[in-house]
Symmetry: C2
Subunit: 218 residues, 2 copies
DNA sequence: AGAATGGGTGAACATGCGTTCACCGAAACT
DNA sequence: AGTTTCGGTGAACGCATGTTCACCCATTCT
């Protein structure tokens, strides 16, 4: 069926994929800003010039990688959100969320390491795009949290600050998980820690306006 | 007094400083892995070869920058710890800690951006050193927390996980603060958020073993 | 069947890179 | 005073980089 039919657009798309994969792999131990066109071309098996048929520059390639990574990440977030509907317990929400994160990072640690790296080290345009995407995640999380019971009286600022804290913690978790490099014991340790951290944060948040004074020691 | 006495070791030290400063400045918009010896030499005003009189390689330079940054950071942590002795309230501890962090990042944002960047993007040896230093910070924080009242019955794991969470949040805060680029309003917003986040985490931690079940909704 | 399209080629360029080496000259020793 | 030390010099090397250009030829369109 799929035999003998490598149409032109298919071949182009295949080469494009190969470039994206090679780039993700090659900048693994450095950064986009230290990645060279010729390196990528050699890895893919094309001549340097052919690269320009697909991307304007390395930075352009980087933006494509960011978009691709976040498409996958949004799919993960949708999965978590779907699970939430059927699991109204906070503990269950935390467990399922961390489980989903663990699975996803396990299957895409290249992409996660990429965004964790280029978020701080990439070319300005790439950094800006990643920052923007993460802010979108924070905002979405904020509206999710606002739908949970017991958060009605919260200010928008507190909601945003809490989302930011959770996202920061989860980015850190994803980073640590990707660094675990697929070793199941290491991944388990990271996800256990993440569960504890998320629970602590949620407990803190739920006792936030309702009675933070009780918890200070004076 | 200090006139007419540029002794040889002084001159060497001065050049070394100039190299370190130039490197910190030059890799600001990329990374150590994309920094070239010749760039640094040109910026400093010496010939490329002279670089080798001071460092074996760019990576060696990077390690020196890491050490320097963490010397400063440890000084800050000591300052925070000193303040804590005179301020036994949790709220006060949080306020003073964030204040100190704000001041320090304001005065050293170059160094903070450097470690935030190279932590994920630097050469392997640099990444490893930074990771190690951060782990030391987490451990020290854990012992500090263990000295606070109400944490006696905590497990070592939970302590470590809590420290890790706080350090992650503070690294994120430092990153955001350094990105604020010295604008006072932006810095204020970041430090306000950091205070809220720290309080939330502490409230969560204090209610952790004592009664986490009260806070779940089932 | 014939023309147009477009991904891939290969040579060529100017530039920048890390590293080597012999050398200089002033400060630091004896 | 004579010698050693050593930070800085400048030429030279072999190599990798981004980008240009004219060209090729199988697929696609007419």
């Amino acid at each position: 069926m799929s035999e003998q039919a490598p149409t032109r657009v298919e071949k182009k798309e295949r080469t494009r994929r190969a470039i994206l994969d090679a780039a993700l792999d090659l900048c693994e131990d450095s950064s986009l800003v230290a990645l060279s066109l010729r390196q990528v071309a050699k890895e893919v098996g094309i001549v340097p010039t052919a690269f320009y048929r697909h991307f304007d520059s390395i930075e352009d390639l980087g933006l494509a990688l960011v978009d691709e990574s976040f498409v996958a990440l949004r799919a993960m977030l949708r999965a978590i959100r779907r699970n939430d509907d059927t699991a109204p317990t906070f503990t269950a929400i935390v467990d399922r969320s961390v489980d989903t994160l663990e699975q996803h990072v396990h299957g895409h640690h290249g992409q996660f390491r990429f965004i964790a790296r280029e978020r701080t080290a990439g070319p300005p345009a790439v950094k800006a795009r990643i920052r923007h995407e993460i802010e979108l995640c924070e905002r979405e999380l904020a509206t999710d949290i606002a739908r949970l019971p017991g958060t009605d009286h919260w200010s928008a600022e507190d909601l945003q600050v809490l989302s930011s804290l959770i996202v920061t913690a989860m980015v850190g978790t994803a980073e640590a998980m990707a660094d675990a490099g697929g070793r199941p014991d290491a991944e388990k340790r990271v996800s256990d820690a993440a569960r504890t951290q998320l629970r602590m944060v949620l407990i803190g948040a739920l006792n936030w306006r309702s009675g933070p004074a009780d918890s200070t020691q004076e």
